[in-house]
């Protein structure tokens, strides 16, 4: 699942089509927030770029409502945006099917009301087993496994903790397990796919977009990742 920050470029929705064409199974769309405390420098830069262009969650969702994409779209944003009244309706209008809120852990889930939207929770290497069980039970759509302690961003290789955590999460849930944080090369994607049902690639994609890669070039990168996933059924 590749990631794109909504509104990062005027033609940002063209990337969605390109990713679909590149074989992505789902796309994560980031709704920019003024204070992206959980993101690493790349996504933060993308977020600031989008904000500087005047992007708002509403405008990004309106852009989505105006296009057609054949694969599921997952929104990701911060709690301050997700908890606002009317947010669920806006997501539904944009044909968003899922939601990730990285600063809203399972303990605060009760405060989030987004009927009709699947809310996926995150699991981290530091999460203890009993808590993992609750996350597995209450997550929807999939479980997002944070492969390393740290923020989003590219890293040289997949952390050794990733496989162990993915295995622990599998014990806790029937849902697909997606691995994210720090996956930036086809080799890492392949490594990840060996232990998970799919991978989420955010910073590596956005680095290229920020450096000027157009939809075709970014799509080719996503295709290279997709090709590296050995299991054809993988959620790439």
């Amino acid at each position: 699942m590749p990631y794109i920050t909504g509104g990062v470029r005027p033609d940002w929705t063209a990337y969605l089509t390109a990713f679909e064409d590149a074989g992505a199974d789902m796309i994560e769309v980031g709704l920019p927030f003024s204070d992206p405390t959980v993101d690493g420098p790349t996504i933060q830069e993308a977020s600031d770029t989008a904000l500087a262009r005047g992007a708002t969650p509403a405008a990004v969702l309106a852009d989505l409502a105006a296009i057609r994409v054949g694969i599921p779209l997952i929104a990701s944003t911060y709690a301050n945006i997700a908890l606002r009244p009317g947010f669920a309706a806006a997501l539904r209008a944009a044909r968003i099917s899922g939601l990730i809120v990285p600063d809203l852990p399972v303990d605060e889930l009760a405060g989030l009301s987004v009927p009709g939207i699947e809310v996926s929770l995150l699991a981290s290497p530091a999460t203890p087993d009993d808590r993992l069980a609750e996350i597995g039970r209450r997550s929807q759509g999939f479980v997002y496994v944070i492969s390393v302690m740290g923020t989003t961003g590219e890293r040289d290789r997949l952390a050794p903790s990733a496989a162990a955590l993915a295995a622990r999460v599998r014990q806790a849930t029937e849902l697909p397990v997606l691995l994210g944080f720090g996956i930036s090369t086809p080799e890492q994607a392949a490594e990840a796919a060996a232990v998970a049902d799919g991978v989420i690639v955010g910073a590596a994609v956005m680095r290229r977009v920020l450096d000027g890669a157009g939809p075709a070039e970014a799509g080719a990168f996503v295709a290279s990742l997709r090709a590296a996933l050995s299991r054809p059924a993988g959620v790439g």
């Binding site: 405390t37 959980v38 420098p41 969650p57 301050n80 852990p105 995150l122 290497p125 808590r131 923020t151």
Partner: protein, 380 residues
């Protein structure tokens, strides 16, 4: 972890265990007489507690209200910040953490954390926006004098908000070794509650001092400035169970409690200045300590309950109040604390603060740090 609708713990899953570990250890420490004795000992022999309750005699005569000043400006490093960092640094040592991390804007919390780290021999890493590093060269140097590492943050606006993000990122990556030292009654649970507990020494002392000094034992009004709100939270904690009216004074340009809407930032739910899209707005106050777009969750709750009242004061009123206290009492307050005084000066004699009332004002810090600003703003 909640104060009514507010509070909570809105952090990445990676940090939940770290926050929980702090909460668990704080609960143990706070019920351990040994820990509390160590802290009380340090606050006394090192930081200069108890701080006096000074009657502002000449100002009182001019205003026709009895003004009592709780003198946090006399603590080591010159503000109430030391109460909190000493507590957290002792907790970090008790938890076996190898280092302290903190973010800072103008540098005051960074200096306080560096101080506590130096005293306990804990290395300190302070995250500070690059622009703030340039603007606050004095405090950067002071932190380095104290042995702290100052990490300039070059992302985003290169100011406090980015330093906060970077400190949290760093904590995520180093949660086993690092203790994150939060500077106010903000952040994820247990910080707002814990910092209030570490600051309640202000209110508890003042309560005892008032009982000894005042015929009525309790002042009619208790007033403190509010940025995040730690000195106010600590002061109010001593009086929330009395009949005293509580007043929190915010900077006009950073009035989360007065003008904010409910939202989530920096790990907690509270009242924040934000636009219609949910983006947090920047605060604007000449008082660095009040230059925050939100307010601690307990203050939001006290506002909802009507137990405390929150009012705002302009930069100009605060400057005038600082000069007036210098002239009448020989005390130059921090420009933050001057906000609390400014409200007292404005309200004295009105129905908000009738003539003859007794009012306790917390002087959260000394104004030495503000002399350059006052020089630029005032013609003497």
């Amino acid at each position: 972890g909640r104060f009514g609708r507010y509070g909570g713990r809105y952090v990445p899953e990676s940090l939940v265990p770290a926050c929980q570990a702090v909460a668990d250890e704080f609960a143990r420490a706070w019920s351990d007489p040994g820990f509390r004795g160590s802290l009380a000992g340090l606050l006394s022999v090192y930081a200069g507690r108890p701080t006096p309750l000074t009657p502002a005699l000449r100002l009182s005569a001019e205003l026709d209200v009895t003004v009592l000043l709780k003198r946090e400006d006399l603590t080591h490093t010159g503000s109430h910040k030391i109460n909190n960092v000493m507590g957290q640094a002792l907790l970090a040592r008790r938890m076996g953490r190898a280092r302290l991390i903190a973010e800072t804007g103008a540098g005051m919390h960074g200096v306080a954390t560096a101080t506590a780290g130096a005293l306990l021999g804990l290395p300190v890493k302070v995250f500070m926006g690059e622009r703030d590093v340039e603007r606050q060269a004095h405090n950067v140097f002071r932190m380095r004098l104290l042995g702290a590492e100052v990490v300039p943050v070059s992302t985003g606006s290169r100011t406090l908000k980015d330093a906060t993000s970077e400190a949290m990122r760093h904590w995520v990556a180093d949660a086993d070794e690092a203790y994150y030292c939060v500077g106010s009654v903000i952040g994820p649970h247990p910080y707002p509650m814990m910092v209030r507990e570490f600051q309640r020494v202000i209110g508890d002392e003042a309560r005892r001092q008032c009982a000894a000094e005042l015929p009525a034992a309790v002042p009619d009004y208790v007033v403190a400035c509010v940025g995040g709100g730690s000195n106010a939270a600590g002061t109010f904690a001593g009086f929330v169970g009395t009949a005293a009216k509580l007043v929190g004074v915010e900077a006009e340009g950073g009035a989360g409690a007065s003008n904010g809407e409910i939202g989530v930032l920096h790990g907690f739910q509270s009242l924040f200045l934000q636009d219609e899209d949910g983006h947090i707005e920047e605060a604007h106050s000449m008082a660095a300590g009040l230059d925050y777009p939100g307010v601690g969750p307990e203050h939001a709750h006290l506002r909802d309950l009507g137990r405390a009242r929150y009012v705002t004061v302009s930069d100009a009123e605060a400057i005038a109040a600082a000069v007036r206290l210098a002239r009448t009492e020989g005390i130059l307050p921090a420009i933050e604390s001057a906000h609390a005084l400014a409200w007292v000066i404005r309200a004295a004699g009105t129905s908000d603060l009738p003539a003859g009332s007794t009012v306790l004002v917390t002087l959260s810090g000394r104004g030495d740090k503000d002399v350059a600003t006052l020089m630029a703003e005032t013609e003497l």
